[in-house]
């Protein structure tokens, strides 16, 4: 065919020419089996869209809904998977719109939150979310050290921008610098001096230096403590929301966090990331949830936690780690915890542990299974040995949920866990290669 004919075809599409964008377009082809186009995208006009996620410590699921005219498309599944899609067609657009709102409201009631909240403008027009989570749901399900926290205390986390000091309800600010140019110190000062500080229930501290391997967190701790009167309502603090690209977990240099407990008597939730240099002296606190994520925790630190006076503690999460990254603790260091030194404990997470079998045996022999509702030994090197010890101890315990995801147990033992009447996660089994077993989070 000649050039002119070709042009005619372009202007007036014949059967051989693809329909124009605004015509009824068939759905895009299924994802190709591999390679560049694993997620097909098509610029169809979407009238309304909402992307929600549930990360309450029990499960980590996403739920996306979009509306094009009178058609709804809902994709949901575990985070990290492609999920499954359901479609609904309605006769009238109005009906679809109402159904959209109804479904979103239902999900928000279940504890889902909007995920796209990394900047303030993304927050605009989004409905406020739920109340603070209960301490038992404080844990982070996975070991995703590639993503910043999306939520904290059940509120979306938004990066603080010193150019915008207008108060925002229902969010938690994160103060962080970038590695190429960090204004962290200035931003923290501006934040603490502003009226924003007066009302915040929680605060997230991110990457605090361009030289994360050199600068420890002591200036952050002292900076917060000095201005504790400005943070009068602070209930929750996340010290070190730092992803691997900013600094690997084992590179983060922490410091003595003892002063935080004295300066913030109302503190109920504390999450710390990074075990290097982390120290804790004798403390008394009414804190309800304490979580320390690390590639390795020192025996001294674990002992200090186990001997702390924390009568209201409901959630204790320690990432014990490996000797390669400064982990020096042993089961003995945890004995007071297993003997019930925290009377209100409901969730016990002894995660990312390279002596997980010893730990499981000690847990199984202790009375702690009758005290707590949730036991989390995930991310560690648990094998059949530890698994069997737990299986033998579970009948008659008060446990409601057991998280053993990321483990080295055999299919048979995992089956036995799955047959239990309590909630059990034994997913992400690891292949045993050459007898070298790894915890999930090192480096």
């Amino acid at each position: 065919m000649g050039l002119i004919d070709f042009f005619r075809n372009l202007i007036a599409p014949s059967a051989s020419v693809r329909p124009e964008e605004d015509a009824e377009v068939p759905p895009p082809p299924e994802a190709a089996p591999s390679g560049e186009d694993s997620v097909p995208t098509k610029e169809t006009s979407v009238d309304d869209r909402r992307e929600l996620e549930l990360a309450d410590g029990m499960s980590n699921r996403f739920w996306n809904i979009s509306r094009s005219g009178s058609a709804l498309s809902i994709t949901s599944g575990p985070v990290g998977s492609a999920g499954s899609t359901e479609k609904e067609s309605h006769r009238y657009e109005e009906k679809a719109r109402a159904r959209f709102d109804e479904l979103v409201a239902e999900k928000l009631r279940q504890g889902y939150v909007d995920i796209d909240i990394s900047t303030l403008s993304e927050m605009c027009g989004k409905a406020p979310v739920v109340d603070a989570v209960s301490p038992v749901h404080f844990s982070r399900q996975g070991y995703d050290n590639y993503k910043h926290a999306k939520t904290f205390l059940g509120f979306p986390v938004v990066d603080f921008d010193p150019r915008n000091l207008s108060p925002q309800d229902q969010i938690i600010w994160r103060i962080r610098g970038d590695w190429d140019r960090s204004a962290f110190r200035e931003d923290l000062q501006i934040f603490l001096a502003s009226d924003l500080a007066l009302d915040v229930p929680g605060l997230v501290i991110g990457c605090w230096s361009t030289e994360m391997y050199d600068d420890d967190s002591s200036f952050v701790v002292s900076g917060l403590c000095e201005k504790a009167d400005r943070l009068a309502k602070l209930k929750g603090l996340y010290l070190g929301d730092i992803v691997s690209e900013e600094a690997e977990i084992s590179w983060i240099k922490q410091s003595d966090i003892t002063p935080l407990f004295g300066a913030f008597p109302k503190l109920e939730y504390l999450r710390v990331r990074g075990g290097d240099g982390l120290r804790l002296a004798e403390v008394t606190s009414s804190i309800r949830a304490l979580a320390i994520e690390a590639g390795g925790l020192s025996a001294e630190l674990v002992q200090a936690v186990a001997s702390a006076d924390l009568p209201r503690l409901e959630h204790l999460e320690l990432w014990l780690g490996t000797t390669d990254y400064g982990g020096t603790s042993t089961v003995e260091d945890l004995t007071p915890v297993l003997e019930g030194c925290f009377p209100n404990l409901s969730y016990l997470g002894l995660r990312n542990c390279d002596y997980a079998d010893d730990l499981a045996r000690a847990v199984a022999e202790s009375a702690i299974l009758n005290e707590i509702k949730v036991l989390d030994l995930s991310l560690g090197t648990l094998t059949d040995e530890g698994g069997r010890a737990l299986l033998a101890a579970l009948p008659g315990s008060h446990l409601e949920r057991l998280d053993l995801h990321y483990n080295y147990m055999s299919h048979g033992v995992r089956q036995e866990f799955s047959a239990l009447s309590i909630q059990v996660d034994v997913s992400e089994e690891q292949e045993t290669e050459d007898e070298w077993r790894f915890v999930a989070v090192g480096e």
Binding site: S16, V17, R18, S38, E122
Partner: protein, 362 residues
């Protein structure tokens, strides 16, 4: 209308282009890379076509070995996925591109993207020079010394401790390393697997991005790659959407930014074949504003203008947290973006239409 196509007749690129041509009733006269390498005079078969499109030789191992041989490699054999002979393959490819250019003159056809531009886009040092001369925002970059010690020496003079090291003549993230160092730590993140035997060391491409921390492994990788020529670029923090870093691939056609793919990855490399996900442009616009997308498109168009004789080019654009764009590279074969549509057209359809318009205007 007839388009000559120099391509590898197996693979998606070939199929997708032929499908687009069929849809627009354009005839395709094929010439495979293998035929062309085996018999340089076969280029004459493209005489009389209106336009010639040069498609990527792709991942064909025999072809790569042939290019390496042509480029003067003394050991052109490569195991599947082996990282080897970057500079020799490039030299060989450039020689064939020169032949295609000569064929175009001799047999009177025009290449949609001229061979010289393709060679220039494949040379990251040349592309960087052009971008810098045009004042296009780019990460700070320099051509790396060719030994490990000299590289470390050079890097220790810089403030920055995070770098991307990219083979000057590589593609598809093959051999690309994200490197950060400090007196106490060294880390190299790359889609590279090491295989050591008693007397040899081989590098392989892997879809699973690895973090290397053993200094001996890091030195082994860099010692193997540096002699082929690498560019050292400062590793800039990317903006995030939903907590995940992203960048853009923008296909510029006839001076206009068209197909735009937002690529998100938890790794420093966002190439889609390495498991990155396509993200939503809508959420980018929602978060950073329409003007930020326009700025990215503008940067991509300016980058493409550095190859003025080419009709199209796939530009990778990084976005900083403040929304400002930085151009990373221009890809001669950056138009394989299946299931991405601009004004209802696939990438190949849009390129075909622009080719015809160009012909018609001439």
């Amino acid at each position: 209308m007839e388009v000559g196509l120099i391509a590898n007749p197996e693979g998606r690129r070939y199929e997708l282009f032929c499908a687009a041509a069929k849809r627009y009733s354009v005839d395709v006269r094929r010439l495979s890379w293998t035929e062309l390498l085996g018999d340089p005079s076969s280029i004459g078969r493209l005489g009389g076509t209106d336009w010639v499109r040069i498609e990527s030789p792709g991942k064909d191992r025999l072809l790569a070995e042939s290019f390496a041989l042509l480029g003067g490699s003394l050991s052109p054999r490569m195991a599947y996925g082996e990282i080897k002979n970057f500079s020799e393959v490039h030299t060989g490819l450039c020689r064939v591109l020169v032949d295609i250019g000569a064929g175009a003159t001799d047999f009177g056809f025009t290449c949609i993207n001229p061979p010289a531009d393709i060679a220039a886009m494949f040379d990251k040092a040349e592309a960087h020079r052009r971008f810098a001369a045009a004042g296009i925002p780019r990460p700070m970059a320099f051509v790396a010394p060719t030994s490990c010690d000299a590289l470390q020496e050079r890097l220790s003079q810089e403030q920055c401790q995070r770098w991307f090291l990219k083979p000057l003549y590589g593609s598809s993230a093959s051999g690309v390393c994200a490197y950060r160092w400090h007196p106490r730590h060294r880390q190299l993140i790359a889609p590279i697997e090491l295989e050591r035997t008693a007397d040899s060391l081989r590098l392989y491409n892997t879809r699973r991005i690895r973090t290397h921390t053993n200094p001996a492994d890091i030195d082994a990788i860099l010692s193997a790659l540096l002699p082929h020529g690498m560019i050292c670029e400062s590793w800039l923090p990317k903006a995030t959407l939903q907590g995940v870093a992203f960048d853009f691939r923008v296909l510029v056609i006839a001076g206009e930014a068209r197909h735009t793919v937002l690529r998100q990855s938890r790794h420093p490399m966002t190439n889609l074949h390495l498991g990155s996900q396509r993200g939503s442009l809508d959420s980018f616009v929602h978060a950073y504003g329409e003007s930020a997308l326009e700025a990215c498109h503008g940067a991509a168009v300016r980058a493409a203008e550095c190859f003025p004789a080419s009709l199209y080019c796939g530009v990778d654009v990084l976005v900083m947290r403040d929304g400002s764009p930085y151009v990373l590279e221009a890809n001669a074969f950056g138009d394989l973006l299946p299931n991405v549509f601009s004004r209802g057209q696939s990438t190949y359809e849009a390129i075909l239409e622009s080719t015809i318009r160009k012909a018609y205007a001439a």
